[in-house]
């Protein structure tokens, strides 16, 4: 089910070997590898990628909202490995993990335990998309004020805000 080019990447083939069932879909477009994985097993996969495959860095965590479509949310993990190059700068490899989540009370496990750097990114996603990260140590709003209503980066959140919705643009 993974394409030929994808399995040539060692990290992905190793992942497919160990967690084949959890990889739902994969693609390589414009030279960038992206995998859709089972949200339930995200921690295991991340830990595997970090510990065994050298993806020591998490560049960021974000989400995409495909509003009318279900499953609505896509949580995107931007991973990067930093193995030392031969006498030069590190050769980096990048990998995108995506998890699809349903719009009703979206929830996923936090990868804070794998990369500490996920802390603020997950809080940001929670703040702007309303996706809950289980086991996150401090899942509170980070950019918006505590009492803010709604999650602005959702597609159904009006672009002009609630107060100034003139109904022309959506």
């Amino acid at each position: 089910m993974l394409s030929e080019e994808l399995t040539q990447i060692p990290a992905i083939s190793a992942l497919a070997e160990s967690y084949g069932a959890a990889i739902l879909e994969g693609g390589l477009s414009r030279g960038e590898a992206a995998l859709y994985v089972d949200p339930v097993r995200i921690i295991e996969i991340c830990r595997f990628l970090k510990d065994e495959q050298g993806f020591s860095r998490l560049s960021g965590v974000t989400a995409v909202d495909w509003h009318p479509v279900e499953p609505r949310f896509e949580v995107v993990y931007l991973l990067q490995s930093l193995p030392a190059g031969q006498g030069g700068p590190p050769q980096t490899a990048r990998l995108r993990l995506k998890c699809r989540l349903h719009g009703e009370a979206p929830e996923i496990d936090s990868v804070y335990g794998v990369w500490r750097g996920a802390d603020w990114y997950e809080r940001e996603v929670f703040d702007l998309f309303g996706i809950r990260f289980r086991e996150h140590p401090n899942l509170t709003r980070i950019l918006l004020p505590e009492g803010w209503q709604g999650h602005p980066l959702r597609r159904d959140y009006p672009k002009h805000g609630h107060k100034y919705d003139y109904g022309e643009e959506t």
Partner: protein
């Protein structure tokens, strides 16, 4: 002396009730920011102090959140460029560049070599600009006032240079999807060359003031250290991680915009303290100067815009003579251009570290989602690890060494 006013109030308490985390120790909560001279904008840090030692530091961000990512969803692709300026207002061209590269990748457009080189030259000037502001404010934080003015003297030249190119000193928006917004102005070589000619001497001047200054050394050496593993774990990038000994620079490891054609080095240090970050950035000033000089001297000829009529606005001249050009112009301006569906993550080395734009297209003329992986946001997470157990004065030096821009953090 009548003593009717109540003097003791919680605000003046150095010795507060023992908190749960610090059982037995008496601490004071100090609210540093959002208005504080050394938080470089509107960062708020809640410090728990034991005397002048920081027991706990909790950064609080979001005071400058303007919802740029949301705004992008309402704009045509080319209209997003001016928004990216406002993200990191000290490295606006880096943001322009990163966004343009991402969309160009989605579109599959090849940018002409001349435009690439010009982009490289200007982004390196941006890096110099940003590092100068950093050095000036950082030195001012530690109390060296004069360095600030010296740095801003050169920054002024760069700003004037930018104004020459784009008509704007800070919010240049000079790069466009497919190339440059305007043709470079007449006499730009002399203007840029004049600046680059004197710049190395200026860097020496800054170093004269700081490098051997015992007070500066005492204030920066062995201050703000964080274990390397912790830094990697937290996703720290840029000069911060290079000062910790990892020679990772995206310009080298994942070259973009023709950086592989330039000869430069990635300065690293191993001390991983404020001093090392200072040294790394000073070296980067020199390397940026090298790149910019190379770009200026070897600037190839040729067009400044990609040959992609559906994306790039046509020449003024052509517009007046060719019907087709006029139609394209009309269509691009009124309804934008369509971008094939898909997603890309493009990252570049901004002055602060890894700057990445994750652009998702649904096939329409407006981006479905633009996620900005900004370096300051990632780097700022290191603050608690850096500040806790240190003195207030060290916190100032450490904060400065992170070199964050609040616009970049809050977006």
């Amino acid at each position: 002396m009548a003593d009717d006013t109540e003097i003791s109030s919680p605000a003046a308490t150095l010795v507060a009730e023992p908190g749960p985390e610090t059982a037995g120790r008496r601490t004071m909560i100090l609210n540093m920011g959002p208005q504080h001279p050394s938080t470089h904008g509107v960062l708020r840090i809640v410090l728990e102090l034991d005397g002048e030692t920081i027991v706990k530091a909790r950064p609080d961000i979001g005071f400058l959140h303007t919802g740029i990512e949301k705004e992008c969803e309402a704009k045509f692709y080319q209209q997003v460029v001016p928004l990216t300026d406002r993200v990191d207002y000290l490295a606006n061209l880096s943001n322009n560049l990163c966004y343009c590269l991402a969309v160009e990748k989605l579109l599959g457009i090849e940018v002409p070599r001349a435009a690439q080189w010009m982009r490289v030259m200007l982004t390196e000037l941006t890096r110099i600009n940003s590092h100068l502001v950093w050095l000036g404010t950082h030195a001012l934080d530690i109390g060296a006032m004069t360095v600030f003015f010296y740095c801003f003297r050169e920054r002024e030249t760069i700003c004037k240079l930018f104004e020459k190119f784009s008509g704007q000193r800070m919010m240049t928006s000079y790069f466009r999807i497919g190339g440059l917004a305007l043709e470079p102005p007449r006499g730009w070589q002399q203007a840029a060359g004049g600046f680059l000619k004197h710049f190395p001497a200026n860097v020496d001047e800054y170093e004269d003031l700081l490098d051997k200054n015992p007070i500066w050394l005492r204030r920066t050496q062995r201050v703000g250290q964080v274990p390397l593993e912790r830094m990697l774990d937290l996703g720290v990038t840029g000069p911060m991680i290079r000062a910790a000994g990892i020679s990772w620079d995206i310009r080298k490891s994942e070259p973009y915009s023709g950086y592989d054609e330039f000869d430069f080095e990635v300065p690293t240090r191993t001390e991983n303290d404020v001093w090392a970050r200072y040294r790394v950035r000073m070296e980067e000033l020199r390397q940026s100067w090298r790149i910019a000089t190379q770009a200026l001297e070897g600037m190839p000829g040729g067009p400044w815009m990609a040959a992609a009529p559906k994306v790039v606005l046509p020449d003024r001249e052509k517009m007046k003579t060719q019907m087709e050009a006029l139609i394209y112009h009309f269509k691009i301006v009124t309804e934008g251009f369509r971008v094939p569906a898909g997603d890309v993550y493009q990252c570049i080395e901004s002055p602060r570290g890894e700057l990445g734009y994750y652009v998702v297209s649904d096939g329409t003329s407006k981006p479905h989602r633009v996620f900005m992986r900004t370096p300051s946001f990632g780097n700022l997470q290191v603050l608690p690890a850096m500040l806790e157990g240190r003195l207030i004065a060290d916190s100032i030096a450490s904060l400065g060494s992170v070199d964050f821009v609040l616009g970049d953090v809050d977006r």
